[in-house]
Symmetry: C2
Subunit: 271 residues, 2 copies
């Protein structure tokens, strides 16, 4: 019993290539207010979205090892690219549970769509990986999937231009063809994209639901903890941030994502 | 004499965080048609422009070691960010000559400007490093420098959008304030930017000269080889490309930069 309690009181590890996963952390904090979190942003290697499968797996493996060495009880891959490419490898090679964003988001989308036409936008690596298409096919093969890689969205968001005319125009170019379809659900398949929601809503019809990663994955984590009696029983909670490049920019842009200051942030070299 | 000849016939190493340095390679090939080149693109870590000083120095040091192990006679840092941040460190810690892009570009700009107002655009890391401002100050302190970081230019170019209306609008936003000045010379302080020249020319007055890195740095390399009797005397020349991430994307976008297919391209892990 002591051992189970002590595992339950351990923190949850959350990792992303950089900042985007903070939108997932925000949702996790809200749904799981008693849990502690270690957030890892691989800012020396960001972005993953333009890198190869092998490279993304290598980086994800190193981060997972680091988080396990910090005694987390569970790891959330708060990055669509790493979830799409590295989840199976990490699950096969790890003793603790690892939860990615793709399956929770697809389940949420399947229960949401009535027209059975779902759009998916993400980085080039996520879209090229076919992970969303394959997951939809395995859960509900009758749904039509329309995918589009939007490589400019992340740099636009990181430049702080999410609500500019330029962002609207770029979104129009990327989504033009997709919006001619009968879609009623759009998966934001990159954890940066929730920052773009106000702009996306200007060009997307009101009946189209936008599905971000944060809430579906938090729900899955919560259910897992409940099922395995792993909810923290401790009275104290804490948070720690780790980055692989210098913390300054992470702090600046990160506070935009999380809506508050991040601390403490520690720079680590795990390569 | 034999030894001098054998050193002279060695290749020139050229490195960049990714693809941009191919615009410099193109110029080097043109000005030095008898030389052999090893090009190194650090595509697993691209971009450098948003990373910290320490991280850029570490990556640059690893690449320099690799190129020296391949017996190059001279190294060209075909990357403004690495030239701005790591040149001095690399020169202090290496036995072979290392030439960056900043000084040649500044000398060219100084001899070009008549209004004594020069604009500099580049990545955030290059602009934040102050390397151009410091170099202008040391060579010709009377020149006024107007700098602007343009973080969206690289992703726009890599998306293949260099000649779109979006590229023009983004350039207008970035350059608006600078173009109100009396500048007659604009330094393209990032080796990607030559791809944007047709778009930049739409919004920049015709009397403003655009200074890319390629030609000034090639001239400096040529002078150095002549001065030290290091021009290749071999009848055969060759080229080889090394990348740290998978070669496919490098090949695709790279051919746009170089105007021909790249080969052979080898993926290496030097971390």
């Amino acid at each position: 019993m002591t051992q189970i309690n002590s595992i339950a009181n351990r923190p949850i590890g959350v990792f992303d290539s950089g900042l985007g996963g903070l939108t997932v952390l925000k949702s996790l904090e809200k749904q799981l207010p008693n849990e502690s979190f270690l957030y890892f942003g691989d800012t020396a290697h960001v972005p993953y979205g333009t890198k190869s499968k092998e490279t993304v797996i290598r980086y994800s493996r190193d981060i997972t090892r680091f988080l396990i060495s910090k005694e987390v009880k569970l790891i959330v891959i708060a990055c669509n690219t790493a979830s799409s490419i590295a989840l199976k490898y990490l699950q096969d090679n790890s003793k603790i549970p690892i939860i990615g964003v793709v399956e929770p988001v697809v389940r949420e989308s399947v229960s949401n769509t009535k027209s059975a036409v779902v759009g998916v936008i993400g980085t080039r690596a996520t879209i090229n990986s076919n992970s969303y298409r394959l997951m939809f096919n395995s859960i509900e093969p009758e749904i039509s999937i329309i995918e589009k890689a939007c490589p400019l969205f992340v740099p636009i968001i990181e430049e702080g231009w999410a609500e500019t005319e330029t962002a609207t125009q770029v979104a129009e170019i990327y989504l033009k063809s997709m919006l001619k379809s009968n879609l009623d659900t759009l998966v934001l398949g990159c954890t940066h994209y929730p920052i773009l929601i106000p702009t996306l809503k200007k060009i997307i019809p009101a009946h189209v639901n936008l599905i971000s990663s944060g809430d579906p994955v938090s729900k899955t984590v919560s259910e897992y903890l409940k099922e395995h009696n792993l909810h923290s029983k401790s009275d104290t909670r804490y948070e720690e941030f780790f980055v692989t490049d210098y913390p300054q920019q992470f702090n600046e842009i990160g506070s935009r994502f999380l809506g508050r200051k991040l601390s403490p942030v520690t720079q680590v070299d795990i390569s």
